[in-house]
Symmetry: C2
Subunit: 281 residues, 2 copies
């Protein structure tokens, strides 16, 4: 089976590498709009073959994986889907799903499209960031699966399993709300914290010398790619705004407790927050 991966950064590159490492049954073709990324991905062995162009990558594949920023997925999807043969399938790995699915729903061969989101990643990006175990023990969310041909779902589930992922199902709308809370909000937080501390550092350049592992952990996601994250925020605006408002309300409540030195309320706030340890390892 031939799989073409469009976009050879952390997500696409790791998917190719992971399949190559675990099976000889797949021939992985790569394409990236940045010539440097394409050459580097091939050098690093993330793909078996570097395509000569997007058209060629699409035409020669049984499966086409879109691992580009979410705005680029929306642009590419109609073009790719309209030229699809009946035996080809397209899957996207975008971090937002509702708007992409809305675009897909307008296309005639909707059943050959599968909307997916691997819950895996690091704060690094580009082909150099790719590694073969990225998907180990991770979750692949498939959205609006009733709109995809069952045989395609089955093949995709097997591909995911090979990379170490378990497949789970969710509506695109529900996916976007969930992810706003458990992923997108964390990124807003990290970027805002980073800016706050960098601003303070302008007055006092010793401040970051004193940062320990706690700060490093909380701010880690601020190293993420603005090219990837700007469209994610915009595509999931409504749910992210809701999560920011909920979060700022909680923080504002803590701020008031502290201002008024309400010891018991502060202790209760922390005790409630600490419940997360029962859920996260």
């Amino acid at each position: 089976m031939k799989i073409s991966i469009i976009g050879l950064g952390l997500i696409g590159g790791s998917f190719g590498l992971s399949l190559k490492k675990r099976s000889d049954d797949y021939h992985i073709i790569g394409w990236d709009a940045h010539a440097g990324n394409l050459a580097r991905a091939f050098e690093l062995g993330l793909v078996d073959e570097a395509a000569t162009g997007l058209e060629a990558a699409v035409q020669s594949a049984d499966w086409i994986v879109l691992a580009v920023p979410v705005d680029a997925i929306e642009h590419l999807l109609p073009h790719i889907m309209r030229n699809l043969r009946q035996d080809q399938y397209v899957v996207d790995f975008g971090s937002t799903k509702e708007q992409i699915c809305r675009v897909a729903d307008t296309l005639p061969n909707r059943r050959q499209f599968l909307a997916a989101h691997p819950i895996a990643g690091t704060e690094y990006s580009g082909p150099e960031a790719a590694f073969s175990s990225l998907y180990e023990d991770k979750m692949m969310i498939v959205c609006d699966q009733e709109k995809t041909a069952p045989e395609a779902l089955e093949v995709f589930r097997k591909l995911c399993k090979l990379t170490g992922m378990t497949t789970t199902y969710l509506s695109a709308a529900s996916h976007d709300v969930h992810l706003a809370y458990v992923s997108h909000l964390s990124h807003v937080i990290a970027f805002s914290l980073s800016q706050t501390v960098l601003k303070k550092e302008e007055d006092d350049n010793r401040i970051l010398d004193l940062a320990g592992s706690g700060f490093a952990s909380t701010v880690r996601l601020a190293k993420s790619s603005p090219e990837m994250w700007t469209p994610i925020f915009l595509k999931n605006k409504k749910a992210i705004l809701e999560s920011i408002d909920q979060y700022m309300e909680k923080m504002g409540r803590f701020r008031d407790f502290l201002e008024n030195e309400e010891t018991t309320s502060i202790h209760e706030f922390l005790t409630k927050g600490r419940e997360i340890r029962k859920i996260l390892k």
Copy 2:
């Protein structure tokens, strides 16, 4: 040399264990107000000897290390310092320093006291959380060092070096402002994020199944001990409120950019925030 460690949680327990592992020159005596912690710390080998009481621990030691919550340090300090012999020294490991130093400044034998803060820790607490490499490659901040006898500073610097720490110096006031930004704020953020997501989970119990490593990293500090953190927040109220306000201002700015779909401003916000990668590994 005999060292008594008062408080045998993560910080005190790891300090004892680290010294014991690296040298035979120190006899480590432990005391903890919770009998269970004391017994467990002895069982785990964090200390050589379990004291029969606080008085006994203080009287038999050359150095007394206070590794209890910051409010308890303030309560204990006058009592311990007033009964100190001339050849004894006291060091505290509290995460806030200004109010503790203010208390110390009123005591006659101020030069036998050293105000310190090891920039090390995890989200776990208690003797079970202690481990011998906690202080490896970490920083020990010593505050208002000009008020401490030079010979005490020298001995303490050597103890820290043995555990793997480098000693650095800062005024107590400056320490508290710095730590508000690079540590305490991160904890407020984590507890607030945790509460936001746990609240959302009440409506939808699948939400945390979908959380990836990014959320886990951002929320990690919410597992920290409310007993330790409530007094830290209260003792460093002014600087923490300032840092929260600065942070909420940044986040509010991002929120407005998103609401108005200002793509360029969002991209700039992320690009500025991402500068942190040049500073943090």
